[in-house]
Amino acid sequence: MEKGLLLIERFIIESLSKKDMNIQELAIQTKLDHGLLLNILPNLMMRNMIQYKRGTYSLNRLEGQKWISQINKKEFLKEEVKDVFQSLVNNYFKEEVAKNSDLKVQKIWLTKDEELTFNSHLKGLENFFKNVKESRLRKAENERLFEQKVVIWGHMSYGDIVNEILEAV
């Protein structure tokens, strides 16, 4: 049966896409428990996504085309994005945990001019992220994957949101 990735599996795949690593390095990159890593890694090996040689895990780049296009299929990505949303929302509304996340929802009616301004802010944000990514390619920072920020943004008309919810039952 075809299947996508759990977010936690993609987390590991992304770590290994930076460089080959042993289990200790993977634990530092992901801040995941050794035991948990040892449960997940064999699954990824069985799916021919990663290899293990002399204590080091690496991506199976030879068969990359096959499994990358498989895990990036629209229906599988949709499930992963839903997991990201859900985690963000759950974390934001948790009372007992100190807030390390932010979530803003605005409902606003925009004129044509305001919509243009809004779109230009979005474009500015996208350019900012693009520039940050490019600068990392030129000068790599000693960053660990678990420290990366996940930023989500998007918009839709209120009516379309309601209609989609009504259609989804």
Binding site: L6, I8, D33, L36, N39, N43, A168, V169
Partner: protein, 111 residues
């Protein structure tokens, strides 16, 4: 992990890591018997039902997940059912990956 281990783990977490004595007064099962159950002695059906009932009460479930799943499967559209299936499946896969760590760590702490 078998049904017995699952229900004990759920109960243990929902009760916020109780002592054997607290579990005994909550369930009406003798302390020594609780100790044995947590050390993998096979559970009797009525003991399983007591733990299962408490898990449902503690999680605030008014109807069982099974009942709700059945109602969804006969009432909702195909896409909505697929959405729910996919959501449950992903939860389950993640839970399976976490098992070898958590259950035995918990068992070590209470044993």
């Amino acid at each position: 992990m078998g049904l017995q281990e699952k229900v004990l783990k759920q109960y243990f977490e929902l009760m916020k890591r109780p002592t054997f004595k607290e579990m005994s007064s909550d369930t009406g099962i003798q302390v020594t018997r609780i100790f044995r159950l947590f050390n993998k002695a096979p559970m009797k059906l009525e003991e399983f039902q007591i733990f299962e009932k408490r898990v449902k009460e503690l999680s605030g479930m008014s109807s069982t997940l099974e009942d709700m799943a059945y109602e969804c499967s006969i009432s909702l559209g195909a896409e909505a059912v697929r959405d729910l299936e996919s959501y449950l499946l992903r939860k389950l896969e993640l839970w399976r990956l976490k098992q070898i760590n958590t259950y035995y760590n918990d068992a070590k702490q209470i044993g």
